[in-house]
Amino acid sequence: MLSTSNLAMWIILLPFLGFLHNAFAGLIWKKNAKKVVSYVAPGVVLLAFGVALMVVMTELPNAHDHRLIGALIPGTSAATPWINLGGLRINFELLVDPLSLLMAMIVTGVGGLIHVYATGYMAEDPEQPRFFTYFNLFITMMLILVLGGNFLLMFVGWEGVGTCSYLLISFWYKQSENAKAGNKAFIVNRVGDLGFALGMMLIWSVFGTLSYFNDKGTGVLQLAGAGHAEGAHTALHAISVMGTPVSVAVLTTICVLLFVGAMGKSAQIPLWVWLPDAMAGPTPVSALIHAATMVTSGIVMVTRCSWLFSQAPQAMQLVGYIGLATAFVGATIGLVQNDIKRVLAFSTVSQLGYMFLACGVGNYTAGMFHVTTHAIFKALLFLGSGAVIHSMLGEQDMRKMGGLRKKIFKTWLVMWVGTYAIAGVPGLSGFFSKDEILHSALSSPGNGMFLYAVGLAIAFMTAFYMNRLMHKTFGVTAQFVDGELPHQHHSNFDDHDAHGHDDHAHGEHHDDHAHEDGHGHSQVHESPASMMIPLYVLAFFSVAFGAWAKFTGAFEKFLEPVVPQMTHLEAPITESMGYIISGCVAIAGLTLAYILYRKPKVVETGQLIPAETKTRWEKSPLHPYTFLLNKWWWDVVYNGIFLKIGGIFAILLWKVVDAGIINGTIEGLGWIVGGFSRLFRKLQTGYVRNYALAMLFGVLVIVLGVLGSWSIAAK
C-alpha cells in the first residue's frame, strides 16, 4: 500500500494560479499590473517552496518506503483517470519521493530567487507581466515534470517546459535572431522528444502501464526495482512483467530512446547546438531554464529511470561516453568565447556532460548532487553576469568590458564565489560534487582511468575559462569609456528608451541613479537590492551546501531509497588523494588563466593579428582558435546536412505531395460536398407544405424500416 500526499498538489497548483493571475493581470489590475505581478510571481514560487519543505518535513518521514502518491487535481484521488481508453489508463497522479522533492525544492527554491531577481531585471520592460506569465508557467510545467507520477505526465511537463523555453528565448521577438534562436531550440528539441515519445510507447507496450508505482505493484519502476533486487543475486535480466522476462535488448532500446530525449533537453551531443543560442533570452531565463532547472531534466529523467538503466549496461555506457564527450567539447569551446553569457552557456553544456558521466558510471546520487550544486552556482554565475550586463546597460561582449571590479564591487565578490565553486576550489560545493563524479568514474568498471583523465582535463579547462571570464570582465583596465555607454536594453518597444526613465513605476533604484549622476543611464552602476539579495543567498549556498551535504552525508542518505546502488571496483587511489589531485588541477587552471589574462590586451591568437598578416595555418578553419570559436564547425555541418539536403526534400514534399496530391484530393472532395449542399438546399423551400411532405417521407422510412426489420427478425 502506498502512502498518499495531500500537500504535494499545491506545489504545482500555486505557480499555476500565479500563471493564471499574471496572464490576466492587465485585465484585473489595469495600470498597477506590473507592480502586483512583481509580488505575486515570486510569491507563489516561494510559497510552493514552503509547501515542498513541509512535505519533506511532515509527510515524507511517515511515508511507507519513502514514497507517496498524490493527486494532481484537488478533491480527487491519485486513481482519478485522465485518459482511460481500452488498455491505456493514465491517472492524474503524482509521485512524491526524495528525488522528486529534491528537484521540486531546487525548482522552487532557486527558481524563487531567480523570480525575485527578475523583478529587478525586468522592471523596465513594458511586457513584464507577459514575462512572468511564462516564468510561472515554466515553474508549473517543470514541477509537473519532476512530480508527475507517470511517464505521460512527465512528458506533459517535458513539452511544457520546452514551450516556455521557446517563448522565453524569443521573448524579445522583434529581433529576428532571438526568434530564430527560439525556433532552433524548439526544433532541435523535437528530435529528442520523438525519442522520448517512442521510448514511452515502448514502455507501455512492454510493461502495460506508464505509472511509476501503483498499488498492485505493477508500476514500471516497481517491476524494474524488483528485477534489480533479484539481479543482484542471479542473472542481470531479471525484470519480468506478468512472469515474462523482459530481454536486455528491449530494455536497452527503451533506455537509449529515453536518453535521446534527454540529449535534446539536456543539450548533449549531438543535440546540444540549441543551448548556446538560447542565451538570446533575458538573463533570468538563461539562469533559470538554461542552467539551473530545465536542462537538468534529462539527468532527472535518467535518474528516475535508473532502475531500468542499471539493467541495460550498454545504454549506461552510451550515456557515460556521450556525457564525457559533451563535457569535453563544451569546455574546449568555452575557452575562447567572448560573449560573457556564451562562456557560461558552454560551461553549462560541459557541466551537464559531467552529470551524465555520473549517471553513466552508475553513481546517480553524484549526478543529482552535481545537479543541485550546479543549479546553485550556475544560477549565481548567470545572475551575476546578468548584473554585469545590467550595469553595462546591455553590453555582453567581454572585450568591451574590463576594470569593473571597483565599479561594481559587490557583484564582483559574488561572481568570485561562483567562479571558485564551479572551478572546484577545495571546500566549495562544486569541488565536492565534481570530485564525487570523478572518483566514481575512476572506480567504474571499464575504462576508469581514461574517464578520470579526461574528466580532470575538463576540470582544468573549466577553472581556466572561468578565471579568464573573471579577468576579462572585472580585472584588466576598462575597455570602454564610463558615462558614454551605449544603451542596449532590450525591449520589444523601440520608443521605450526615450520615455522609460521618467516613469516612476520602473523601480526606485534607477530613478535615484538618474537624478544623482546626471548622466542618466550611461554610467556603470550596481544593481538594485532585488537583484543583489538573491545573489547573496545563492553565494552563501555555493559555499556551504557542498561541504554540508558531503560531511553530514545527508544528501546521499536522502536519495538512497530512490536510486540503485551499483557495485564499484576498488579505486586505485583513496578519496582524499582524489581531493588533492582535483584541488591541484583546479588551482592550476585558475593560475594559468591568471598568468595569461592578468595584464590587459594579452594576445589571443587570431584576434589581434590583422587578417592580411595571418599565415595560411592561421587562416585555416582547423586552426585551434578558429575551430573552437566556431564551435567545432558544428552548426555549419548541421546546416549543410539538415538545412540544405533536408530543404530539398522538404520542397519536394511541399510541391508534389502537399500541393499536388493532398490539396488536390481535399479540394476535389470539398467541391463534391459543396455541390451536394447546394443541391439539397433547394429542398429547403421555406413552405410548410413541403416540410410536411418531407416528414411524410420520413414516416414512410421509419414505418417500413421497423416493419421490415421486424419481419426479418421474426423469421
Partner: protein, 504 residues
C-alpha cells in the same frame, strides 16, 4: 401504496419550477413594485427558482429509484442527471437573455414564465414512465416553446418561425399520439395482467417476457409512429426542415435555450424508451442507425453553404443530434459494461452539446449587445480585432463543435466513437468520422472570418452595453468546455449515475 408526499417528492424539482413560474406570472402582473423593476425581479426570481430546484435534485441524487403516481412518473438517477442538465441549460439561458431582451425591447415577464413552464415540461419528460404522461409533458414543453419562438412579435421572421414550428409540431404530435394509441392497442396481452397498458414498466416487463414473439404489427407501427414524434422534436433528418427556419427566426436567446433544452429532454426520453425496447432491439436498431447516418450527413452537408451563422448553427445542431443518435444506437447495440459506457458517453455528449451550443449562441448574443443582431458570417469579419473576448470564446466553441482537442466536443466524439467500435458498429463509426470532417470546414470558416479577414468599415461600432450575465454565462461554458475536455473522466464520473435507468 406510496403516500402523496412521496409522490410529490418524486417530482419536486419540476414542481418548484412550476411554482416559480406562477410566482413570476402573478408577481409581474399584480405587484406594481415588481412590475416596475421587472428587469431585476424576473430573472432573479427565475434564477433562484431553478437553482432551488436543482439543489433538491442534487440532494436526491443518491436516493433509491422509485416510481410515483401509480407508476406514471419515475424518479431514478437517470432522470435526476437529466434534470440537472436541463436546469443548467435553463440557468445559462436566463443569464444570456436579460440584456439581449432589453436591447431588443422585448423584456416582458412572460418570457421567464414561458421559460419556467417549458422547463417544467422538460423535467417531467425526463421522469415520464407512462406514455400519456410523456405526451402531456412533451406538449407542455412544446406549447411554451411555440410562444417563445414568436416572442419577438414585431419581427416577421419570428412570427413565421412560431407559426411553422406550431403547424409542424402539431402534425408531429398527431403522429406521436396515434403511435401511442397503437402501442396501447398492441400491448394487449403483453403484460402479466393481460390488460392493455401505456405504462413503460409494464410494457418493458412484457417485452422481456415475450421477446420478439410479443410484437404485433399494430405494436410495430405504433412504435414507428411514436418515433416520428420524437424524431421531429430531436430534429432528425428528414424531420429537420423546421429547424433552420425556427432557429434563425427566433430571438437568439430563445434559440440557445430551445436548442439545448429540447435535445436534452427528448434524448432522455428516447434513451428511456429504447431501454424499455432493448429486448426487441433488432426491430428498431437498423432504422435508428439509418436516421443517425442521414442526420449526421444531412446536417453537415447543408451547413456547408450557409452564410447566416444562426442558420449554420441550426444545421450544426441537426448534425449533432445525429452524433447523439449514434450514441443511442450504441446503447441499444452494446452489452454488459459497454452498455453503461455507451449511456454515460451519450450523456457526456449531451452535456458537451449543451455547453457548446449555448456558448456559441451566447457569443452571438454577446456580439449583439450593441443593439444590432449579429447573424451573418460577414458580421464576424475581423472580430479578433474588434472584440477579442467574443472572438476567442467563439474560437473555443467552434473547435469544440468541430471536435478538435483540447475541448469537450473532441472528447465527446471520441467517446461516442469508442463505444460505437466496442459495440461492433464500425460503419456507423466511420460515418461519424466522415461527417465530422465535413463539419470542420464550416466551423473553421467562422474562425477564418474572425481571425484572418479585415473588418468591414460599417461593422465597426463603438457603443456597447456591458452585459455581465452574458459574459458570465459564456465564461462558464468556455471554462467547462475546456476543463472537461482536458479531464473528461471527471465529467463522466459525475454523470455515471445516469447509467442506472429504472425500467423494470
Amino acid at each position: 401504496m406510496v403516500g402523496m408526499s412521496d409522490n410529490l417528492a418524486a417530482i419536486l424539482p419540476a414542481i418548484i419550477v412550476m411554482v416559480t413560474g406562477f410566482i413570476v406570472l402573478l408577481g409581474d402582473s399584480c405587484l406594481p413594485a415588481w412590475r416596475n423593476n421587472g428587469k431585476a425581479f424576473n430573472p432573479a426570481v427565475t434564477f433562484v427558482g431553478i437553482a432551488v430546484a436543482l439543489f433538491f435534485d442534487m440532494t436526491r441524487m443518491g436516493a433509491k429509484s422509485a416510481t410515483a403516481f401509480s407508476g406514471a412518473v419515475v424518479d431514478d438517477p437517470f432522470s435526476r442527471i437529466s434534470i440537472l442538465l436541463l436546469g443548467v441549460a435553463a440557468i445559462l439561458a436566463v443569464l444570456l437573455s436579460t440584456t439581449y431582451l432589453e436591447n431588443k425591447k422585448l423584456h416582458h415577464g412572460e418570457y421567464y414564465v414561458l421559460i419556467l413552464f417549458s422547463l417544467f415540461g422538460a423535467m417531467l419528460m425526463a421522469g415520464s414512465n407512462d406514455l400519456i404522461t410523456l405526451f402531456v409533458s412533451i406538449e407542455t414543453l412544446s406549447v411554451a416553446l411555440y410562444v417563445l419562438a414568436g416572442f419577438a412579435r414585431t419581427e416577421e421572421r419570428s412570427e413565421e418561425a412560431a407559426l411553422k414550428y406550431f403547424l409542424l409540431g402539431a402534425f408531429a404530435a398527431g403522429f406521436l399520439l396515434y403511435g401511442i394509441a397503437l402501442v396501447y392497442g398492441g400491448s394487449y396481452g403483453l403484460s402479466h395482467t393481460g390488460q392493455a397498458t401505456t405504462n413503460l414498466t409494464e410494457i418493458g416487463a412484457g417485452l422481456a417476457g415475450s421477446g420478439l414473439g410479443g410484437v404485433t404489427v399494430m405494436f410495430g407501427i405504433g412504435l414507428a409512429l411514436m418515433f416520428v414524434g420524437f424524431a421531429f422534436k430531436a430534429a432528425l433528418v428528414p424531420f429537420h426542415m423546421w429547424t433552420p427556419d425556427v432557429y434563425q427566426g427566433s430571438p437568439t436567446s430563445v434559440t440557445a435555450y430551445m436548442a439545448a433544452l429540447t435535445k436534452i429532454a427528448i434524448f432522455t426520453v428516447i434513451l428511456r424508451i429504447l431501454s424499455v425496447l432493448t429486448p426487441i432491439s433488432s426491430v428498431w436498431l437498423m432504422t435508428a442507425q439509418l436516421l443517425a447516418i442521414l442526420t449526421m450527413f444531412g446536417g453537415n452537408i447543408l451547413a456547408v453553404t450557409q452564410d447566416n451563422v444562426k442558420r449554420m448553427l441550426a444545421y450544426s445542431s441537426i448534425a449533432h443530434a445525429g452524433y447523439i443518435m449514434a450514441g443511442v444506437v450504441a446503447v441499444g447495440a452494446a452489452e454488459g459494461k459497454f452498455h453503461d459506457l455507451a449511456i454515460s458517453s451519450t450523456m457526456f455528449y449531451l452535456f458537451a452539446y449543451t455547453l457548446m451550443t449555448i456558448g456559441s449562441f451566447g457569443v452571438l448574443i454577446w456580439l449583439s449587445r450593441r443593439g444590432r443582431d449579429c447573424q451573418t458570417l460577414g458580421d464576424l469579419k475581423g472580430l479578433v480585432k474588434r472584440d477579442p473576448i467574443g472572438a476567442y470564446t467563439m474560437l473555443v466553441f467552434m473547435l469544440s463543435l468541430g471536435g478538435i482537442p483540447p475541448t469537450m466536443g473532441f472528447m465527446g466524439k471520441l467517446m461516442i466513437f469508442n463505444v460505437l467500435l466496442s459495440a461492433g458498429l464500425t460503419p456507423l463509426a466511420l460515418c461519424l468520422g466522415f461527417a465530422s470532417i465535413i463539419s470542420v470546414y464550416y466551423y473553421l470558416r467562422v474562425v477564418w472570418m474572425m481571425c484572418f479577414m479585415e473588418p468591414d468599415r460599417e461593422t465597426i461600432t463603438e457603443h456597447a452595453t456591458e452585459s455581465g450575465g452574458t459574459l458570465f454565462a459564456i465564461g462558464v461554458t468556455v471554462v467547462l468546455s475546456l476543463f472537461f475536455g482536458l479531464a473528461p473522466y471527471l465529467a463522466q464520473t459525475l454523470l455515471a449515475p445516469a447509467t442506472s435507468i429504472l425500467v423494470r
